[in-house]
Amino acid sequence: MALFVAGLNHRVAPVALREQLAVEEDKLRELIRDVQASGVATETVLISTCNRVEVYAVADAPGEARAAVFRRLCQHRGVDPATLETLLYTHVDDEAIRHAFRVAASLDSMMVGEPQILGQVKDAFALAQSCETVGPTLHTLFSQAFAVAKKVRTETDIARHAVSVSFAAVELAKKIFDGLTGRAVLLVGAGKMSELAAKHLVDQGAFPIYVVNRTWSRAQELARALAATAVPFDELDTALGAVDIVVTSTGAPEPIIRRDLVQRVMSGRRGRPLFFNDIAVPRDVEESVETLDDVYCYDIDDLQQVVDANLRERAREAQRAEALVEREVAKFSARLRDVEVIPTIVSLRERLEGIRVAELRRALARVPDATAQTRDAMEALSSAIVNKILHVPVTKLRESSRAGVGRSWTTFVQELFGLGRST
């Protein structure tokens, strides 16, 4: 019996093929129930997202089980199974554990560290549970994969830094101000980009929001959408004095925020920093503004540069995450092997315990006038014998599983004691 994962992801298969293979929930249920019923696999979980289609299963013959799953999938979506054959990857045992951990921890994602994949894996697992195709092995595997994903998220900064320009603004603001709660934001220009940046800032507690736009009706419209206040264009100077963060995105051909204006505004701010996000091209904020003290002025290229640095940081953190996953795989692989011998150990124990209890009852029936003391002694004697007998086989079974030959031992022990059969 082997644990394996087989499938394809964004690295090996083009989007055209991935979208063809993506299946809806109902079909997914039908598919895993069908596979389970056919008997090629004892446990099955199927993950289907826009970036990957993977089956995690426990089967005697992984190749057969893999073929069964993907044959059904291709049949359903009208894909020629031959096109898949060269693309599919298969990982067995430790490799499969590593793959599951990496996928859940978002290390195998197109954008490393993206948060959606963990939810998708959890959904797939829950779906399989509801179809009762999850046994002890996959249950242990996925529970641990979720724990590892959480650990990666908390112990590395893999998902910490902004990888979009609009979120980079939020992150920068947090390095200038001690928290964004109650920071006032001014939007100059009412474009989509500035709206997005404003939403991120509001999510972090920024308040109130002001909107300035040359077209008054558009200013009002955006103000309504963001629960903000529209301010007339000629009151831009006053508004600048009252806010901490400015997002500019007008279509003006010339800078509309000039150095002398900002200098005037800054003199009244008593050292409170002012942070400009100029996402307009051509730029709305005069370049020399950034030389003023306490003024931080980022144009679209600067923000992109921050994003690039963050991506490099992510890649560095991903390496640390890989090392962490590696340690977890080593730890887990021993545990999972135990999982395969534990059912045998339990049934062996139950079998001997059943014999002991039955024989004890029979023996006690023959001596009805035995004292409580005698009964206790017989009870203790029989228990001791059973435990002494069990000790070596149980130890051997555990050792065999750690040595990777648990499967043959469990079969042997089951045969020897007639376990797993209704005898």
Binding site: E155, I176, V306, A309, E313
Partner: protein, 275 residues
């Protein structure tokens, strides 16, 4: 009666342990800044706590051995100041959630400890007395606060530089935001100034009652007055003239340089403060 010879031997062992501990803590704190491994930070914190605990024991043993506060020579006083610095560092790091702080404070701690570990002559018997101990203790707490002030200013300058240059690097990712750093610099300045001022006044009053004059030349007294003047100007600027941020940080670095010179002068030039 405890054998003095054993005590001296024990003190040497203890101060070596303290030095090793602070060296480890410094290395780990710097490694954490570069590596950002949570485990490294935990180890740095452990090393700091352990070294500080041994340091506490060493100070007590020295006090018991000599029957006076461990403040009678400049090296003793600096060692006590270092003890206060590490205490403040641990408190601020925890309270303000600034895991990177150690990387800026512990190197200073290590350098000061190396200086303090060298044996220096003590102040004369005639100078000892409750007033003098209080004078030295207050001044040393002031010095300790200024070490934190210096670390805060340094962090501010590094973070500000990265934000202005728009090229996020190690410091951008590891250091806290500018406003928090500016507040840390302000608070430690106020704290340090209050203690240093009281300490210096006590010293001057004592000098007047002992020598009848505060103006006799003494290198440590003169230089520390200069450092005090820089800090006074910075604090006044911050309080009333809107001095803040980068400029205030420059002043802090300048003041601390003067303070280090003061200690250096106290250690190497002859004067009333020992040597």
């Amino acid at each position: 009666m405890i054998c003095i010879g054993n005590m001296v031997k024990m003190l040497v062992v203890l101060s070596n342990l303290v030095l090793i501990g602070y060296a480890c803590a410094t290395g780990l704190a710097l490694a954490y800044l570069v590596q950002r491994e949570e485990l490294v930070h935990r180890l740095a914190t452990l090393a700091t706590i352990a070294a500080w605990a041994v340091h506490s024991v060493a100070l007590i043993v020295r006090g018991v051995e000599t029957g006076r506060p461990p403040l009678a020579s400049l090296s003793e006083a600096v060692s006590t100041a270092v003890w206060v610095v590490v205490l403040l560092e641990m408190l601020v790091e925890r309270r303000w959630q600034m895991p990177a702080l150690g990387a800026f404070v512990m190197p200073v701690v290590l350098i000061l400890s190396l200086n303090a570990s060298a044996m220096r002559p003590q102040i004369g018997e005639a100078f000892r007395g409750a007033w003098v101990w209080v004078h030295i203790a207050l001044a040393m707490i002031g010095v300790a606060a200024f070490v934190l002030n210096f670390a805060g200013a340094l962090m501010y300058l590094l973070q500000e530089r990265q934000l202005k240059a728009k090229r996020p690097g190690t410091f951008y990712y590891r250091l806290p935001d500018l406003q928090t750093l500016d507040r840390l610099t302000y608070r430690t300045l106020a704290l340090g100034f209050a203690f240093l001022t009281t300490g210096l006044i006590l010293g001057a009053v004592w000098a007047r009652t002992s020598w009848g004059s505060v103006l006799t030349f003494d290198p440590l007294a003169s230089l520390s007055s200069l450092a005090w003047a820089i800090y006074a100007a910075t604090l006044a600027g911050r309080a009333v003239a809107g001095l803040h941020g980068r400029r205030a940080a420059y002043f802090s670095v300048f003041g601390f340089t003067m303070l280090v010179l003061t200690l250096g002068a106290g250690l190497f030039l002859p004067g009333r403060h020992g040597s």
